[in-house]
């Protein structure tokens, strides 16, 4: 099953409330996906060369202070923590930070890299995760969330959505791909590394590989209609936009509600019912293989 949610705020005034609007959407979809959940928010873009690294520790009671004290370079960056999650803002080169996280931090996993993205995801019920990660307090321009009911690979924090690849790109998926291993083999031959055996990761890395090769996200999605076999409603975000697409059969649900103030996407209308002005929103079901993009 799985649930997907997303919201893009069109007005400055709502941006401090991004988390407050997105969290009930995510929690409501706990009925479609009770085993893990995640939320990516896009915030004010950091100045170059700064990057935000979203991190999650393997232990719920991880001692971030102790970890920070062991940094080989104390000037690595600033750390903000929330339970097992943390956000590291650093001006060091990305490759240097990635190398540090890989070599020195077996207990800490990198969830996302970018100038705008901040990501939380974990195993457990979405209500539980919202509370642990203080999701209602998050601010920003747009958010993408997922509640998982695992069908094709194990339940673990790493297998939770959103998946990320490259910088400031994330994807959530309701459905299942039937050729993730052939996609994966094709990408691995090009030196692209995978972190899990999850089908969605293959879709996410495929799209990011196409963008790296020069496609726009929309062009990459068009190519995916030929390359990715299976069922999907994909909701994706970059620093500047929210993008929604469903496969040709559209067996997996999605509903969109748009007002002058926001555009919101959910697997079911229920997850949008609390949003302000929803009564007068333009509510519609996205058509198969049509790409919907909304810009910040």
């Amino acid at each position: 099953m799985c649930g997907i949610v997303g919201i893009l705020l069109k007005t400055e005034a709502l941006r401090p409330s991004l988390g407050k609007l997105a969290t009930p959407m995510l929690e409501c979809m706990g009925t479609r996906g009770p085993d893990s959940a995640g939320l990516a928010v896009f915030q004010n873009t950091l100045e170059e060369p700064q990057r935000r690294y979203s991190l999650r520790a393997q232990q719920p009671d991880f001692d971030w202070q102790h970890w920070q004290a062991d940094w080989p370079d104390p000037q690595l960056g600033t750390l903000e923590t929330q339970g097992a999650h943390a956000s590291l803002i650093s001006s060091c080169p990305v490759t240097q930070v990635h190398e540090f996280l890989q070599l020195f931090s077996a207990d800490v996993r990198l969830l996302a890299t970018g100038r705008a993205i901040r990501l939380f995801k974990d195993e457990g019920h979405p209500i539980e995760i919202s509370r642990r990660c203080a999701l209602p307090e998050l601010q920003g321009t747009h958010a993408v969330g997922h509640t998982r009911m695992a069908t094709e690979s194990v339940v673990s924090p790493e297998h939770a959505h959103p998946f990320t690849a490259g910088e400031d790109f994330c994807l959530v998926h309701n459905g299942s791909l039937s050729n993730p291993y052939s996609v994966r083999r094709k990408l691995e031959r090009r030196g692209i590394a995978f972190e899990t055996d999850n089908d969605t990761e293959a879709g996410c890395r495929f799209l990011q590989w196409r963008m790296r090769e020069g496609d726009t996200l929309e062009e990459a999605i068009h190519r995916s209609f030929r390359e990715l076999d299976g069922f999907f409603t994909f909701l994706m975000a970059t620093a500047g936009k929210l993008v929604l697409v469903r496969d040709g059969f559209s067996c997996k649900p999605a509903v969109v509600a748009e007002t002058d103030e926001y555009v919101a996407v959910g697997s079911e209308f229920r997850s949008l019912a609390h949003l302000p002005g929803i009564v007068n929103a333009d509510v519609f079901e996205p058509s198969p293989e049509q790409i919907y993009s909304w810009h910040v």
Binding site: V255, E268, R270, S271, V283, P288
Partner: protein, 230 residues
């Protein structure tokens, strides 16, 4: 004396509302039930079996008015998947749009969608009638066995795929026909059928503008010697 009962889903659970509709309607002498704050919840007013008018005031979720018998249910908003699924009799009307599988497996009664109905509208219908004022998505009338589907707008791809004996009428364009579906000549009986259904659903349209799609009946018998492709 007949009266109107108001039920508010902001304060009541779906189970409480449906239990009232199933077990307490008779004693309450209610002729009309107005349900407020549906907020996209699922299975509202499913399993009704009584002559009663039910108004759902807002958007409803999946399976609204499922298995309906006798009752006249109007949803003042959009509905999710499988509105009036397995309807037996009575009328279900949606003033907005419907998601997938409208009136799936419906045996009898009338379902009216005033907006568009998405994919698989009337899938496996077994005798109910459906009138869609707007468009229908892909695979409308998939494996439909009996009954009539009237589409006043356009039909999406694969209309009537693997159709049995249901008849589909479309006023607008047809993106493509599904396997074994074919366009056929309209007869005076068809014009009569459409007129009755449009009148019953309160839609003004000229029955002569519709095209008829029915089964070519080539898939009725398995042909073991034919080259099969899947």
């Amino acid at each position: 004396m007949a009266r109107v009962t108001h039920l508010d889903l902001a304060n009541l659970t779906i189970r409480e509302v449906n239990q009232f509709l199933h077990h307490e309607l008779d004693a309450s002498q209610t002729a009309q039930v107005d349900i407020q704050n549906p907020d996209g919840k699922h299975s509202i007013a499913a399993g009704l079996d009584m002559e009663v008018t039910v108004n759902i005031l807002g958007h409803a979720g999946y399976f609204v008015a499922g298995m309906n018998k006798q009752a006249s249910v109007t949803i003042h908003g959009n509905v999710g998947w499988s509105v009036a699924e397995n309807i037996m009799s009575g009328t279900v009307r949606v003033t907005g749009h419907a998601s997938q599988c409208t009136a799936a497996s419906g045996h009898g009664g009338l379902v009216v969608i005033e907006g568009n109905a998405s994919s698989r509208c009337g899938i496996s219908m077994k005798g109910c009638d459906i009138v869609v004022q707007g468009n229908v998505g892909h695979f409308a009338g998939f494996m439909a066995q009996a009954g009539r589907l009237v589409v006043c707008g356009d039909a999406g791809p694969h209309l009537g795929d693997s159709l049995y004996e249901a008849i589909l009428y479309v006023r607008g364009s047809i993106a493509s026909l599904g396997a074994d579906a074919q366009q056929q000549e309209m007869t005076p009986d068809d014009i009569q059928s459409i007129s009755e259904l449009l009148a019953a659903s309160g839609v003004a349209a000229d029955p002569h503008e519709f095209k008829k799609v029915a089964s070519a009946r080539r898939l009725y018998h398995w042909n073991a010697t034919e080259r099969q492709e899947y």
